[in-house]
């Protein structure tokens, strides 16, 4: 187990370097960001040159990357164009996004798995078909349509909730955005659970458990569900990174100043330091979540042991 974790951690190093380098190059490909800082006029050349120097843009890309990574390891993520430290941006953005992600994941787990179990046990019945159709519709409607519609209905027409999230972004205000963010993944989780449950329902250990006379809910929860969760857990683990970075659309609709919003701003202003900084942290989250998921396998399925 220990050796396995160490090996996995070592494998993260090249992935981490590769991903950050790739993002770094991608933002650089977009070209010179300075021109966007002077409004509808040309920056005067002297100021432009000074700004380039200040943000380290006058050096070759590889050198910029090395300097940047060196700084990152000392905890210095650089400065955004508005003079704000990227670490400061992160300290305001990540808590909000983590709350949003938690709510989304919670929705996925509670609603998704519950629906999945119900439909998996009642495969082919009307309830199964109904949920299936519903989840498929949710999958096929783009997030921004769902988001705008719900915002308009719940926020304005019916006035149940404030349509946007305040800058403190407490949990209760994030419920609707969390639901919208989770909606697509929710459908996937339902379907994954359903398939897995339907498959395992016929396995020998379930039959044995039923034959032993165990109560139904115990069979379902302890035996069937536990063994059916592996694909679901994998999906959710991978989804954490996606939800945190991919909330651009949801965060924009509900005016949430989280990671997606900062990333979006960073990209629009072509601010390498912000974009790479945020993605770096996201990559770490993503890799860590993968590791945790793999370790969870051993908990869920006793047959899996890591050497």
């Amino acid at each position: 187990m220990g050796r396995y974790v160490v090996r996995r951690l070592l494998q993260m190093v090249p992935v981490f370097v590769g991903a950050t380098l790739l993002i770094f190059l991608m933002v650089n490909v977009m070209g010179d960001p300075i021109a966007g800082l002077c409004g509808e006029r040309q920056c005067d050349p002297a100021t432009a040159a000074r700004l380039e120097k200040e943000f380290g843009l006058d050096k070759p890309v590889w050198q910029q990357y090395l300097t940047y990574m060196g700084n990152v390891f000392t905890g210095d993520f650089g400065t955004a164009f508005n003079g704000q430290e990227v670490t400061e941006l992160m300290s305001t953005a990540f808590p909000v996004t983590i709350r949003l992600t938690l709510i989304a994941i919670l929705f996925e787990i509670v609603v998704g798995i519950a629906l999945g179990v119900v439909t998996g046990l009642r495969r082919g019945r009307p309830v199964d078909t109904g949920v299936l159709l519903l989840t498929l519709v949710v999958v096929s409607v783009p997030t921004f349509v769902t988001g705008l519609l719900l915002q308009l209905l719940l926020g304005v027409e019916w006035g149940w909730i404030p349509p946007s999230v305040s800058s403190e972004a407490p949990f209760d205000e994030l419920i609707l955005p969390g639901l919208v963010l989770a909606s697509v993944s929710l459908a996937y989780v339902t379907r994954l659970t359903r398939t897995s449950i339907a498959e395992n329902r016929r396995s020998d250990y379930v039959r044995t458990a039923i034959a032993k006379g165990l109560p139904r809910h115990r069979v379902v929860v302890r035996h069937l569900l536990r063994n059916s969760l592996i694909p679901v857990v994998t999906f959710i683990g991978a989804d954490i990174g996606f939800l945190m970075g991919g909330a651009i659309v949801t965060e924009r609709i509900f005016n949430i100043h989280g990671v997606g919003y900062q990333l979006y701003q960073g990209i629009l202003r072509q601010n390498t330091q912000t974009v790479v900084g945020f993605v770096t942290v996201l990559v770490l989250v993503f890799l860590a979540a993968n590791l945790v998921v793999d370790l969870l396998y051993a908990v869920l399925d006793p047959r899996i042991r890591y050497a």
Partner: protein, 541 residues
């Protein structure tokens, strides 16, 4: 209504937590003047230093926190003395400025001649990376403080001299008769010593001499401003303060306004304009602002700079149905342009309706004829480039293209070409990579006809994006700047404008209005000619 209640409670709670401001009118008799309103805001792009702010969102805050020598009247736009007691000149080149007595910064420091001279030197100095440094370009010694290349050889402008506690002199490199009228621009604001002594702390929480204090500032999400009770100026705020909330999408801000979650939105999204009547009734304002939208041309591209090109450009101008587009897309929040300035200048200031004449009217047949005579569109078609990330440019560019296509009876004559980011868009302009007309917007810095012409069409001017160059135009502008008589100067500028028209250097599209919507709590909402709400006059409750 439940939403509104909720919002009010939240605002009060926030205000109480942040500033212990009284809420709900329980504090003495003047409950209203203590109430705080919330307003939409955009994240300023640059640090909030006066000489570093070149867009409206940062400008909003500076306008609340600072007062300069001059201030543009919120209604007429005229430059009026604020901190200036006298600005004297005998030759339109050397000015003696006397600062009024009794003004202080909100930290108690007196506003003196030094406060201005230090601020201007700071703004001009190359090493401070101030985006608006060029505003000091007329002042003597700018070329040493801010050389085009290499290191600066001086730290202070030789043209600025403090001659007394409240007086200083300004020497310009050339005659510029309307120089005093430019002094209302934010870049010319005074700065307290705190700005220089602890710059980081100042940027985190700016201190100025305006009617509002910055109470707290969470960058990227919210700024809370509170009324400065000891403000010495005549335009004391009539409310308790303003909470500026950052919105990424003005649609969300409008949705919030409808739900009672926000008090003031100063940029109604085009898509919602049709609904304002229903949603807001008379709590909506639509007034002219000093903004004009044009289509600029790459005059460096041979396709657009050959004999007859001006006919093609004029033809394109006549193929655009401005009336219909401003009606349908903008719901009359923009007015078809008939010259290259703005109605906010007024007739005396140089605005002349109809100066563009037929060339700005929708005449499809004439358009077709002119384009044919001019040699046709280069390659048979034209693309209009715009940046897709800010503003709702996509809609009007599509509409302009459809209008051109309909006028020319060719479905593929005109296509819109979005560019992903503003920076990329500006890069293409600076690198002269444009191959067809592109979006050009101009928001005036100060309400002078000079500001609508010189920066945009003078040879090598900073916003002359099309790199248009015309000796006759340059000459007229030079003469106008030296003219001491205002009416004569305006006349010369208008002659220069006619040169722009005859060459159709850029196609004027429409004058942009400022629009604002507000909640039932507010009254006396007004927009100044810069389309910024006059926050200090708003009454709450």
């Amino acid at each position: 209504m439940r939403g509104a209640m909720h919002a009010r409670w939240a605002v009060c709670a926030m205000a109480a937590a942040l500033a212990a401001t009284a809420c709900g009118g329980g504090d003495g008799g003047s409950g209203d003047s203590g109430a705080v309103l919330s307003a939409s805001w955009g994240d300023p792009q640059n640090p909030l230093e006066p000489a570093n702010t070149n867009e409206v969102q940062g400008g909003k805050v500076l306008d609340m926190v600072f007062r300069g020598l001059k201030r543009y009247d919120p209604v007429t736009g005229e430059a009026e003395d604020m901190l200036a007691e006298r600005i004297e000149t005998s030759d339109s080149q050397n000015f003696t400025i006397t600062v009024k007595d009794g003004w202080t910064f909100s930290n108690g420091e007196k506003v003196t001649a030094r406060s201005f001279v230090d601020a201007w030197n700071y703004g001009a100095s190359l090493r401070n990376n101030q985006r608006n440094a060029y505003f000091f370009g007329y002042i003597e010694g700018y070329d040493r403080v801010h050389p085009e290349e290499g290191e600066q050889t001086a730290d202070t402008l030789s043209g600025l001299k403090v001659t007394g506690e409240r007086t200083f002199t300004v020497a310009l490199t050339q005659k510029f008769s309307s120089f005093p009228d430019t002094l209302g621009y934010n870049a010319f604001a005074p700065l307290p010593r705190a700005f220089f002594d602890d710059h980081d702390a100042w940027v985190r929480k700016p201190v100025g001499n305006g009617p509002y204090l910055v109470d707290s500032y969470t960058r990227g999400s919210q700024m809370s401003l509170r009324t400065w009770d000891d403000y010495p100026g005549p335009d004391k705020a009539r409310n308790g303060g303003v909470d500026l909330k950052v919105y990424t999408d003005n649609n969300t801000a409008y949705t919030d306004l409808m739900a009672g979650n926000l008090d003031l939105v100063d940029d109604i999204p085009a898509a919602q304009l049709k609904n304002v009547g229903n949603d807001l009734g008379d709590r909506y304002l639509n007034t002219p602002a000093g903004i004009i939208q044009t289509l600029a041309f790459p005059h460096y591209d041979d396709d657009w700079n050959k004999p007859g090109s001006q006919k093609v450009r004029t033809g394109l101008s006549m193929a655009i149905d401005r009336e219909q587009i401003t009606d349908t897309i903008f719901q009359r929040t923009r007015t078809p342009a008939t010259d290259w300035t703005s109605p906010v200048l007024g007739e005396d200031g140089g605005y002349r309706a109809g100066l563009c004449g037929e060339a700005c009217a929708y005449k499809p047949d004439e358009a077709k004829r002119l384009i044919r005579e001019g040699g046709g569109l280069p390659g048979g078609k034209v693309t209009i480039t715009f940046n897709a990330d800010t503003g709702s440019h996509r809609e009007w560019v599509n509409a302009v293209c459809n209008s051109i296509n309909n006028a020319l009876d060719d479905e593929r004559a005109c296509t819109a070409d979005p560019v992903g980011t503003f920076a990329d868009f500006r890069n293409r302009i600076t690198d002269r990579k444009m191959t067809g007309p592109f979006r050009a917007g101009w928001q005036m810095d100060y309400p002078l006809i000079q500001n609508f012409l010189q920066p945009l069409y003078y040879t090598d001017a900073s916003s002359n994006d099309g790199k248009w160059s015309n000796e006759q135009f340059d000459d007229l502008v030079d003469r106008a700047n030296q003219e001491t008589d205002d009416a004569r100067a305006v006349d010369l500028f208008q002659q220069a404008e006619e040169v722009v028209r005859d060459n159709m250097a850029a196609i004027p599209l429409w004058y942009q209005n400022g629009s604002a919507g507000w909640s039932e709590r507010l009254s006396d909402v007004r927009l100044n000619p810069f389309s910024v709400p006059v926050y200090d006059q708003i009454k709450v409750g």
